[in-house]
């Protein structure tokens, strides 16, 4: 399977997860309440002051925009005949990458504690309509795990530490971890929006 095909399949799979979740939610909403009886739920009200709430909203928005910019500049080459990312798209990709890196740290700072796995997550995952919280946590930690090699590999290739083959391997790690990070990040953002909407409806 070629790289563009693999990336296309990856994003189609992410879209399929979103579509399946939307369809199941619509079906469950038509039949019964979305929250299963007895299923544990996350704390509805945050004790944080409003300034932190707005800061969190701003961080989330900046993170989502920077993720979109970094991913779109990198993946735009799949729409062209070029085999490598070059030219102005490369400059835009590299220019937006530090903003994404800083936003990623801020998002992890704001979300890591809320995304700790607990014993209740298993019952949420198996209960009808409450799987968004454990899936949000799962895709969050997948994105965190993938963000580290995505950043570290391409930065390591900028130092005179590796030979040509080593630098190509590092670039390959970046090329394969990057789309996986983008897909996990988008799914985390989707399930975070779903849980936020569920909480606001309670």
């Amino acid at each position: 399977v070629s790289y563009p095909t693999a990336v296309t399949i990856l994003f189609l799979a992410a879209l399929a997860i979103v579509a399946a979740d939307l369809v199941l939610r619509l079906v469950l909403r038509a039949g019964k309440p979305t929250r299963a009886q007895g299923a544990p739920r996350e704390g509805a009200k945050s004790a944080n002051p409003s300034v932190f709430r707005w800061l969190r909203v701003a961080v989330n928005a900046i993170g989502l925009v920077s993720l979109f910019l970094v991913a779109s500049t990198a993946l735009s080459r799949l729409l062209t005949d070029e085999r490598t990312l070059t030219g102005d798209r490369l400059i835009w990709h590299v220019g937006t990458a530090p903003a994404f890196a800083l936003a990623a740290v801020a998002i992890v700072l704001f979300w890591a504690h809320r995304n700790r796995f607990s014993a209740a997550d298993w019952s949420r995952l198996t209960s009808a309509g409450t799987w968004a919280i454990p899936l949000r946590k799962l895709f969050f930690w997948i994105a965190v795990v993938l963000a580290i090699p995505t950043m570290a590999s391409i930065l390591a290739a900028m130092f005179p530490l590796f030979d040509t083959d080593g630098q190509q391997d590092l670039a390959r790690i970046h090329r394969y971890c990057g789309p996986l990070l983008a897909a996990a990040g988008l799914l985390f953002a989707y399930f975070a929006l779903v849980t936020w909407r569920e909480r606001s409806q309670d």
Partner: protein
């Protein structure tokens, strides 16, 4: 670069990119200007990757600690 000519009056200076045909001078200038920020890219990227690793390890250690506590049971 000074360009020689048989005529002394035609001695002129050319920028080096004039010797390269089909060179996108504007792009090369933009790329060259971006190079001065490369050190910032490295510093921010490595700091971000390091902080993410610290966050990840912090929660991994807590998970391992809880796993160990759960498997240890109540015996002392």
């Amino acid at each position: 670069v000074a360009v020689d000519s048989p005529l002394a009056s035609e001695r002129v200076a050319w920028t080096m990119n004039r010797f390269e045909k089909n060179l996108d001078v504007d792009y090369q200038a933009r790329l060259a200007r971006s190079w001065r920020y490369r050190v910032w890219l490295k510093a921010i990227g490595l700091a971000a990757a390091g902080l993410l690793l610290l966050f990840l390890l912090a929660y991994v250690f807590r998970a391992v600690d809880r796993l160990s506590a759960a498997t240890a049971g109540r015996s002392r």
